[in-house]
């Protein structure tokens, strides 16, 4: 097997997809879904999994039609320039807004938990600069760091579970199936929205070392994310029961906060917070890269570097000024965000897919592009 470092391996790609989903979801999902459906929240997250796999199949089938060029130049050749530009700008807007939400979430967390007095602008500038640096290194670099950070995250997740074992009370999970269906749907919807972020596969497609496996990659990425999310929800439920997490802002970290073995192993939540910050950085890198990629490729801009800086400035300002306070932001996260994610990630690709099915030309060689 020839080693090709310029391309993204299949495992790296799957990890990349799951890293695009979990960092922010791990913060919001426990609160929202336990708040909605109590001890059955983990079931609702698991129920979102098959839907996520459905998305993965859609993305996979779209990506596999692509002969290995950038998603937008391929759309261009199949559906015309107008469609590719519109889709490109729409996706660029999607990546941009998710990047800003990610930063905002990180900054909110940091100024709530760690650095109350540090100006918010500084806290958001640091991640942006790092994301710009990573994005200018290319998606392969991001894929590599995401694999490393992922391994670290899994290790610390396992460590966390081990340390929290003695606080877990299995009876918190019973009775199973207590919540009525509408509440279950309400609690599962955010997870569905987040899992749809696997649409990252579109921009990964031309960089994959084995593009034929893209469906499998998407399914693996979504499954990793779904399992991880339900694990975190389960972890929170086992420690705080069905009532408390709904009123907590960061129940997953509160669970780490109450770790206590004697008077030596205690107050270790900061270690977990640091690992989480690293995962958020990776997510941010992915989405800053995605924004620039969608923007420059759909408009066929050759010199991407100036846009990298302007776009990141835009993300910076967007994250700082779009939501005046935390309450507005939380409201956005709980209600608007899911609809937005599903529109950009499910409806748009589905329309494109339909368009391609209708416009499929008999000779397959027409899709070839220089």
């Amino acid at each position: 097997m020839p080693l090709n470092p310029e391309k993204i391996g299949s495992i790296q790609a799957a990890v990349l997809i799951s890293m695009a989903i979990t960092p922010t979801a791990a913060i919001v999902i426990p609160t929202v879904s336990i708040g909605a459906s109590g001890q059955d929240a983990w079931l609702s997250v698991l129920a979102a999994w098959p839907l996520g796999i459905g998305f993965a199949l859609l993305y996979g089938s779209l990506s596999r039609m692509n002969p290995g060029v950038s998603f937008f130049s391929w759309l261009d050749s199949r559906l015309g320039r107008a469609v590719s530009v519109i889709a490109g700008l729409l996706l660029a807007q999607y990546y941009l807004s998710v990047a800003s939400v990610t930063i905002r979430e990180l900054v909110n967390f940091l100024s709530n938990e760690l650095l109350q007095k540090t100006p918010v602008a500084v806290l958001s500038a640091v991640p942006i600069l790092i994301a710009v640096y990573a994005a200018s290194g290319g998606i392969e670099v991001i894929a590599r760091i995401s694999a490393l950070v992922y391994v670290g995250m899994i290790m610390f997740l396992a460590l966390g579970i081990g340390l929290e074992l003695n606080q877990m009370q299995p009876q918190f999970l019973f009775p199973i199936g207590d919540a009525p269906l509408p509440r279950l749907v309400e609690s599962g919807l955010p997870s569905v929205g987040w899992l749809s972020e696997a649409s990252l596969l579109f921009i990964l497609a031309p960089y994959l070392s084995k593009p034929r496996r893209s469906t499998a990659i998407a399914i693996a990425g979504v499954s990793l994310a779904a399992v991880q999310l339900s694990l975190i929800v389960l972890l929170v439920l086992l420690q705080f029961g069905p009532e408390l997490p709904g009123i907590m802002a960061y129940p997953a970290f509160a669970a780490a906060e109450i770790i206590k073995y004697g008077s030596f192993v205690e107050r270790v939540d900061l270690i977990f917070i640091c690992v989480w910050v690293a995962t958020v950085y990776v997510k941010l890198c992915i989405f800053v890269f995605g924004t620039v990629h969608c923007f420059t490729h759909s408009l066929r801009i050759k010199a991407a570097k100036p846009f990298l800086w302007t776009i990141s400035l835009l993300i910076f300002l967007h994250s700082l000024y779009s939501w005046s306070d935390e309450a507005t932001f939380l409201h956005y996260q709980k209600s608007v965000s899911t609809a937005f994610l599903i529109t950009c990630n499910v409806i748009v690709p589905a329309l494109l897919w339909l368009g391609l099915k209708i416009k499929r030309r008999p000779p397959a060689s027409a899709g070839e592009s220089p």
Binding site: P2, L3, P5, G9, I11, Q12, L110, L114, L115, T118, V122, L123, V126, P127, I130, Y133, A134, G137, G138, V141, A143, R144, I145, A147, L148, V149, S263, F264, E266, R267, V268, L270, I273, C274, V277, A278, Y281, C285
Partner: protein
Amino acid sequence: MKLWNVLFRRKRDQGSSQQRKAVKQDGRSGKAVSRDLEEGLSKDVDENLRTIVAELGGSDDLTIRKIDAAGTDSVVVAFIYIDNLVDSAMVNQMLLHPLMSEIGESRSGKSSEEWYRTVRDRVLAVGRVHEMRTPEEALACILEGQTIVFLQGSAAALAADTSGGDKRAVEEPGSQTVIRGPKESFTESIKTNLSLIRRRIKSPRLRVERKTLGKLTQTQIALVYLQGIAKASIVEEVRRRIDRIDTDSILESAYIEEFIQDAPITPFPTIENTERPDAAAAGILEGQIAIIVDGTPFALLAPVSFVRFFQSSEDFYQRYDIATFLRLIRYVAFFVSMLLPAMFIAITTFHQEMLPTPLLISLAAQREGVPFPAIVEALLMEITFEVLREAGVRMPKVIGPAISIVGALVLGQSAVQAGLISAAIVIVVSFTAIASFVIPAINMSIAARLIRFVMMILGGTLGLFGIMSGLMVLLIHLASLRSFGVPYLTPLAPFVWTNWKDTFVRMPHWVMKKRPPTIADGSNLVRQGDDQMPKPPGRKSKF
């Protein structure tokens, strides 16, 4: 015709001597000098000698020995060499002695052409003899320590390799020491160094490519690799990068390293250096390419990945279990040396809740009355330590004990007693310093030292979040580095399983069946046969 030629040349020589002086002053344009040296040698010995002497500006270390035919005044043979570059015993025994005894009998009645061939083929008792056609060639050989033999009447000269002179014997390595393992080190002589490698790899596939670099220093360098094990593409890339170098001096392999490395602006080394022939041989056997430079005991090895800098050659000479343990210790030490002061600052000034209560109280008690903030305190101590270390390296060996007394007693103990700094910071700085010596590659430990200061400032302003951000930048940077096309973080990301047997752990030799596929040629990876685990007859089930 000949006379005219001589006259003409002489005129031109005089004419150009002014110009040559000017050229010498600016010191760089060797090309301008060589232009009129490119013409052929004259048939007249004196003429040739004059050219050479003029070219070297009549340096006093130039030795000329003329031999005339019996009974005449006319010079028949002349030797020219630079005094201390040649092995004078060899010149006397192998060149002078045979020639002088031959000169009477065999020269008579021969044409100058025949005489030349006799001398070349039968008289000079030296292994490497080759013909010189121009003064330029001759000059280069003289500067390399060869002896030039001019024969009256022939327009070619003979260069006999008599280079020798004073050089250091093979000694124990000064920087990369081992407890168990070969005690030989490279020396300043490229010949010795090549022989040290050859002696370790007696394979016909070992290739040595010599090149000369540096217009003034004319330094010899050699690429050494194993044909079929080193990737051809990487060998070609190394060759290409070396041929690009246009400089007037190469005094140490670091000069070359800076000209050919992939990332010029990074604290991390992307080319390995070693003064151990066994380490170089091990690298070559894994597919690395060694670059040996005359005049320095440090050879370069490329390509290299990050984890390679945490391997010591001793890892492979000790038992694998202890080697694994020590290797893990080194990784820990690297992070300690990079992060410990920063973590200390971040935790004591931002995240006091992370400390166990008794520790917090005793640290707080130490800090009572200390005038500086923790970050300033730590920076001061770190800089003090760097000063001490630099002093330790530079100062004459005789004053060594004085510095250690002043450093340890005055700076450490008294500063704490005087309440200028807290005792904890002294402990942290000392441990950091010791940890930084554990990393086998000095250039990697320097990287950790530099990053330490950045991390301390980050930790002092944003706490653990700052350190985390710094680490992330570092990770991104490392992931974007490559060494001759090989990603720097290789066995980790991209993940390469074969290399993992020799990354954090050192598996037994019989487990490491294959060479690292990232560096070595993919078609020839197998290092040893299957099933090499020792199976002594006593190893049966005891049940």
